[in-house]
Amino acid sequence: MSWLRIAAVLAAIVVLVLAPMGQTTYFVYVLCSWLVFSIAAMGLNLTLGYAGQVSLAQAAFMGIGAYVTSLMTLAGIHWIFAVFASVTSCFAVGLILGYPALRVQHHFLAFVTLAFNALVFLVLRNEEWLTGGSFGLVGMPRPEFLGFKTGTQTQFYYFVLVCFLIATGIMAWIIHSPWGRAFKALRENPIRANSLGLNTRRMTLLAFAIGSAFGGLAGAIQAPLVQFIEPGSFALIHSLKLLLMVVVGGSGFFLGPILGAAIVVLLPELLRFTEGYYLMVYALMVLVLMVFSPTGLFGLGTRFWQRLTRPKQVERGDLKQGASL
């Protein structure tokens, strides 16, 4: 890591630490949601941007994480155990779901995850004895760590920020590990990667399971943030929303999903002047963005940067082959 990069990371952390100062509770709440969705979107980005698999169940994994955490913390178990259970169960479900789907045919993971998300919604709604049914679960406690309380919105923000930084650190480590570099090889040139002896199927499966575990982590933080969960918050439409975050930000770029989550979460604020039409404006913006820059906003930025610095850009292989659905 170059000095410049370390400085940039430190500066970003400082900005994030200072962000809630002097802000309204609502704004701090929005910041919290942004960080939570960033974690989930980062996980999806590993599956989508690096392993080239479309998962349409990231909201379901958030749901599993949120329900596991809620049930455990409502039963009096500390959040730290609950989050561990949430992440592990999502990882396990990811493996169980992904193994047969990836065995069959490349793009079928999208179909299986779509069906899985719809099924998870039905189970959460119908099994009222466990999940509270359509009424949901309410009143999850906000955790306390060695006397540090997270009850107020600002306190909770710092708790979310710590979780976010840990998650981002792990993700950066994964991507820069030999295993993560193998992914890059895979995405740039799958055939060569295969011939170099990479077991692409196993790698893809693992990426999907880890991506799902990130969804579980996001859910585990969301439960004490909102202090209310219900099946509708984890329906298929929210998986599509997460997919939008990743692609709008720029799939395959490390910071892409974080930018994408910011846009989707802050959107109603940014487009406030359009009044009732903001969803239409948003949809149009996405359409136009996809036409002009299929690699999302980060792709747009990078392309612009490259045009300034280098005359010729390198065509990325993943959008041609890896990510085809």
Binding site: Q105, F108, A115, G276, L287, M290
Partner: protein
């Protein structure tokens, strides 16, 4: 017995309309290798074209329907192809998938803002007469829906297999590069596919709205059902969508009646997962030639 018959026939009538929507999925998949997440909204929208025609312009129903079909072909077929699909195809399919999600949202929100957020009644096309067969109540509308859908899909199948244009379209779907070498006007063939999809969406919309009613959010449910039907039947075969649609229609009712009303929606989903594991090409589909 009467009960079973009732459930089967109602299921087939509903399933036939699902099949029309599912065929569109199949066609677009063949033409662009992308899932059209706006397909449900494609089926939602034409009903509003009809309502605008009869309501705002006071047109007779049949004129409004013809106009709605033409507008659907222009908007959902040609404009969709030219403005959305074409600029994105060179970038692979993921941006296109995202674009269709956004397009679906745009269509839904537009209907809500510019027409109404509330459901609208839709004039029936066929007599509402109900007759009894072995104790089951069957309406003329059910029978007509079933017949029209069957005729449209079988006609399409014939067209694709028998006519020169149809065969060129199939060649394009299977391997555009080779088709091009063989002298097929690939661009034109892809355009035909989109025109047919716009037409089918309009027909499905007009058939389903008298009993499903017209509402901006209808696409959410319809899109999912059509999607499941297309995969279960076989994603790369038109007759697969037909089989899938009918099967889902019947299965939904059977599940509600004999399994569990709470989990009626789960049965098609489980079927989908099982099909993918056991027979990924779908019930009547053929193994895909393309190595994607």
């Amino acid at each position: 017995m009467a009960e079973f018959l009732q459930i089967m026939i109602s299921g087939l009538a509903a399933g036939a309309v699902y099949a029309l929507a599912a065929v569109g999925f199949t066609l677009l998949w063949q033409a662009s290798q992308a899932i059209n997440f706006a397909q449900g909204e494609f089926v939602m929208l034409p009903a509003f074209f009809v309502l605008i025609g009869t309501g705002y312009f006071g047109l007779p129903l049949w004129v409004a329907i013809l106009l709605a079909i033409v507008i659907s072909i222009l908007v959902l077929g040609i404009a969709f192809k030219k403005l959305v699909v074409e600029p994105m195809l060179p970038h692979g399919t993921l941006p296109l998938v995202i674009a269709t999600i956004a397009l679906g949202l745009l269509m839904k929100e537009s209907v809500k803002e510019f027409y109404s957020a509330q459901g609208q009644p839709f004039p029936p096309l066929f007599p509402q007469t109900v007759f009894e067969v072995f104790g089951a109540a069957i309406s003329v509308q059910d029978v007509c829906n079933l017949l029209v859908s069957l005729l449209v899909i079988l006609g399409l199948q014939m067209f694709l297999q028998r006519s020169r244009t149809g065969r060129s379209m199939q060649a394009t779907a299977q391997n555009p590069a080779v088709a091009e070498i063989l002298g097929v006007d690939v661009k034109k063939m892809v355009m035909y596919t989109f025109i047919i999809n716009g037409f089918l969406a309009a027909i499905a919309s007009i058939l389903i709205s008298p009993f499903y009613l017209a509402k901006f959010s209808n696409g959410e449910t319809l899109g999912l059902i059509a999607f499941i039907a297309a995969i279960v039947g076989g994603f790369n075969q038109i007759r697969g969508a037909l089989v899938g649609g009918l099967l889902i229609g019947v299965l939904d009712n059977l599940a509600a009646a004999y399994v569990s009303a709470q989990y009626r929606a789960a049965v098609p989903l489980i079927l989908l997962i099982v099909i993918i594991m056991v027979r990924p090409q779908g019930l009547v589909g053929t193994t895909e030639g393309r190595a994607v």
